[in-house]
């Protein structure tokens, strides 16, 4: 008796056996074994489809080369090219007319240069801009804190409180702020009294952290107080420019926080920028003509 052809057996899942073939299979153990072998082969093949390269296998593609090609094609955009529209400043007049002032903010994305071989990443914002933002925040916080307690803005005055009293500037009528400063005793203008700054440093991390937290609270309070009480008349363009700058600071801080969400320094920068933005919005609102108000931002 002739056995079934191998290619016919290999078609086990394509064409049903004829009656003669079935009869042969029923009698022939060898052909049944062959048929089982083809079924096993198909199972092996299906299992091979589920395998992936091992983790320690060398990758066939490498990101450095791939990213260069993608960038050349414009699929991967650099930080410099990647600008996204920010929400417009919407000002509504009493007559119902709406003015939308478009703004553009550099998006905080990573450039290819920002991805190092060690896997560490840097923010796609120029260093000078980040440094300037940091210095601006610290200095403005210092100045606002000193002004809020009646001290001069210049931090190296030997006796700021005395100078302020003599100039008649220190006696602010905001008792709450003065009270807060007196209670904490950690405002920049009072550091001499603490002996902290004079000592050239802090005694411990917790002490420095407490001072920082307290200074931040005072800075926030002073910013909001100034926003509510500073009657100096400025053109709304000044506030708009400040808002745009603060938005960029917040974008940079937000991007940095995505990399290091627990970093307390970055968190403080973000909060400071956010508070300054809120205060500026209030000031802008007061600087607008009486028939206009900020509807959205």
């Amino acid at each position: 008796m002739q056995h079934l052809d191998s290619e016919r057996l290999a078609a086990f899942d394509d064409t049903l056996p004829t009656a003669d073939e079935l009869a042969h299979l029923a009698q022939c153990a060898e052909c049944r074994g062959e048929r089982s072998a083809y079924i096993a082969l198909a199972q092996l093949a299906a299992e091979a489809g589920n395998t992936v390269a091992h983790a320690d296998d060398a990758r066939l593609s490498d990101w450095a080369s791939l990213s260069r090609t993608l960038r050349a094609e414009g699929l991967l955009t650099s930080a410099a090219d990647h600008r996204v529209p920010a929400s417009p400043l919407v000002v509504r007049a009493l007559d119902g007319s709406v003015e939308r002032i478009a703004r553009t903010v550099s998006a905080p994305i990573l450039s290819d240069d920002a991805v190092g071989t060690s896997g560490t990443r840097r923010i796609g914002v120029p260093i000078w801009l980040r440094s300037a933002a940091a210095v601006l925040l610290v200095v403005s916080g210092l100045v606002a804190g000193r002004l809020s307690v009646g001290a001069s803005a210049w931090p190296f005055d030997v006796s700021p409180l005395r100078s302020a009293r003599e100039s008649g500037v220190a006696q602010r009528d905001d008792a709450s702020i003065t009270g807060t400063v007196a209670a904490s005793g950690t405002a920049s203008g009072n550091t001499s009294a603490d002996g902290v700054a004079d000592a050239g440093g802090f005694g411990s991390i917790s002490q420095a952290t407490d001072v920082l937290n307290s200074a931040q609270r005072q800075y926030e309070q002073a910013s909001l107080w100034l926003a509510a009480n500073d009657t100096t008349v400025r053109a709304s363009d000044v506030y708009r420019a400040r808002l745009a700058a603060l938005d960029q600071m917040m974008a940079a801080s937000r991007a940095a926080l995505r990399e290091a969400p627990q970093d307390p320094v970055l968190n403080r920068y973000y909060l400071a920028a956010s508070n300054a933005r809120q205060a500026t919005l209030q000031q802008l609102s007061s600087a607008l003509p009486v028939d206009k108000s900020i509807e959205g931002y």
Partner: protein, 192 residues
């Protein structure tokens, strides 16, 4: 945890981190597919790079109705086949497929057993290997294979059954179930 859809959205906008994340997550799978189909390590590297560029180009066409990994798998196969066509690896399939010479070896290779199905498939002629991999490994139907390779469904079946017959011999230790071992089938009558 960020969803595939969210990562893809960011990647479409040109976010390098998102693109790199997609590459990192799916490269092992793409590599496996490309290695199987290419059969040649150097060629596989070129194809893999090409596959990823195509994946990023085509990202906006992923509608989310299939899993992203499934879509990537399809793109990888299609792109690999295109690349193989470009380098003429599949050029002869239309002529070879109608002949009975899909395999360069007949009974002389019985002693050359393969340890894995991929190693065995590497010994097939390019056209037969591609049909076998697409059907039995990747799960394509004969109609889909015919469309992809520009052949008829009948031609795809013919190639598959011949490929299986050869692989069955090469992989005897892995697939033999009977105690008697592989049987000499040279006397089997063609077509019964």
């Amino acid at each position: 945890m960020e969803t595939d859809a969210a990562i893809v959205r960011r990647a479409i906008e040109g976010d390098e981190r998102a693109m790199r994340l997609l590459w990192h997550q799916h490269a092992p799978h793409v590599d496996a597919v490309v290695r199987r189909l290419a059969g040649d390590p150097d060629l596989a590297e070129d194809i893999a790079q090409d596959v990823w560029i195509q994946i990023f180009r085509a990202l906006p066409t992923w509608r989310g109705d299939a899993k992203f990994s499934t879509w990537v798998h399809r793109v990888a196969i299609n792109r690999a086949l295109n690349a193989l066509r470009r380098v003429k690896r599949l050029a002869a399939i239309e002529t070879v497929i109608e002949e009975d010479s899909a395999f360069v070896e007949q009974d002389g290779d019985r002693s050359m057993l393969a340890a894995t199905i991929e190693a065995a498939a590497a010994r097939l002629a390019p056209g037969a290997r591609t049909v076998f991999l697409l059907h039995d490994v990747e799960g394509y139907t004969h109609e889909e294979i015919a469309t992809e390779l520009g052949i008829t469904p009948g031609g795809s079946k013919s190639q598959l059954f011949k490929a299986r017959a050869k692989l069955r011999r090469l992989l005897a230790p892995l697939v033999d179930i009977s105690e008697a071992g592989p049987t000499d089938r040279s006397y089997a009558a063609p077509g019964f």
